[in-house]
Amino acid sequence: MTEVAYIDRPSRALYFYAILYLGFLYIPVLFLPMFSFNDNIYIAFPLKGFTTKWYVEMFNNQPMWAALNNSLNVACVSAAIATLLGLFGAKAVTRYRIPGEKLIIFVIMLPMVVPYIIMGVALLILVTRLGFDLSLYTVTMAHVLISVPFAMATLIARFEGFDQALEEASADLGASPLSTFWRVTLPLVFPGVLASFLLCFTISFDEFIMAYFLAGTDPTLPIFIWSQLRFPFRLPGVLALGSLILVVSFVVVFISQWLRRYRVEKTQPGI
């Protein structure tokens, strides 16, 4: 058992590399909050002094609030629909033997690897050919499409994680399929449902490429930010807004990831 320790042998070099790597991941993003408190219209060193005026400026920006409202609506609705579809889909592929299951899962997971611009353009053509106006509804539709794979993946893992015998026991004891679902399945998969909703919410909230093609006159928040990036004097305001978004989405994603991996045995249903 001496050489087996290979796996456990701590490697200083690798540890050092891992810290550097995390630095590469996080430090660039941290410049945004840093400069958002800098009392200078130009984003450059040296730092001039502490100010919160960019936050105040953002706070008084009416179009920003409208865009934020649009984004929250789109994200909530698309996340709810995607999670519901993911719930049906995950239950189907984990509980029933379906012919062609691999092909079906492949099709559902496809949006993960198709460039967003392709799907955005294709939806744009469909919507205009049908004669519909571009609106927040079309953006919502697009966001459901790209969120479903993530919802499915999250929920399939959850469905695979608990004992199917619990559902069978419920049926044996005379519960109808609906009440089995409501009182056994749903409480068991609930952390997955919540994780899926939060994940889909953040995906939609941040999505720009498809929204840019599909939004009509009402912008979502990323579209609003994009429009601000053209004006140098707007950049500090974008930094302030961006910092707030970063903080909120870090918290939301952290919760969703934690829920996703929250162990099944810790959540026996309190029926």
Binding site: V4, Y6, I7, D8, P10, L14, Y17, A18, Y21, F24, L25, P28, V29, I43, A44, F45, P46, L85, G86, F88, G89, A92, V93, R95, Y96, R97, I98, V107, I108, P111, V113, V114, P115, I117, I118, M119, V121, A122, I125, L126, V144, L145, V148, E168, A171, F205, D206, I209, P222, L229, G242, I245, L246, S249, F250, V253, F254, Q257, W258, R261
Partner: protein
Amino acid sequence: MNETTIEVSALAPSPTSWGRRLYAWYLRSDALKGFALLSPTLLVMGLTMLIPFGIMVTISFWAQIGFEFDTTFTLANYVEAVEQPLYQGLLLRSLAISGTCAVVTVLLSYPMAYYVAFHVHKHKMTWIILMTVPFFTSYLLRVFAWKVILGYNGVINSGLKGLGLIEEPLAFLLYSPTAVVITLAHAWAAFAILPIYISLEKIDRSLLEAATDLGDGPVKRFLGVTLPLSMPGVIAATLMIFIPTVGDYVTPTLVGGPDGLMIANLIQAQFGLVNNWPMGAALAIDMMVVVAAISLLYIWLTRKITEKIA
């Protein structure tokens, strides 16, 4: 599946209407119940992905006349996409940028994934979450962060100037293909780490012990056991970065400059300023076909090579 048998037997003695028989058949058939549950999801995917894609293919064979389409079948868009040097140049550059980015990101991420898979024992979940969280924060803002860092008066230039290391800002940092590669490598890092990590985590540790017992040194063991077994993760990571980044237009627009523009910028322009949708559709399909061909070739090649070695 006890519920099924109970209900079916309850129904069976009364051989009445077709509806009931159908219902009984439905209850007996696992596949049908599965499909019924799947149908809303499949319907939505069909409506928002497969049908739009079909229409896009159709339109790519049309022509744009002012604000109308000429619906007579033509291959002109594809001929132009292939023959026009500008279009071909942009496509090649996009493939080069995305390919470089995929390779760089995978090479940088492999040791990280390896570290977490083999050397982290406590708080593994925390490490995984730490690696994934930045990926789900605003893409636009992460790209913008690099503009702030690489810019003419950005973090690097103003920092170096402040330290007295340079007189004039380094102009080559921003607005170049290199800037696009760096930014994309940062933005897509999580897509490289996770697949590699999962494939490393799956490796049966006793295989490593066996290799050690048979006298393999660390290097030989890595090349002979760990690396080949983690290849599926490496392949998945490469493709999950390569394929979507080819179609990115945010990064090239913000940090690419004229020399860093990519094919997606052109496609976007066809649906915007240029207003030639059939051409845009043809370019998008051209891009997809080339990307799919390269990906399949890559999967085939790596499989051949792994087989040869193993």
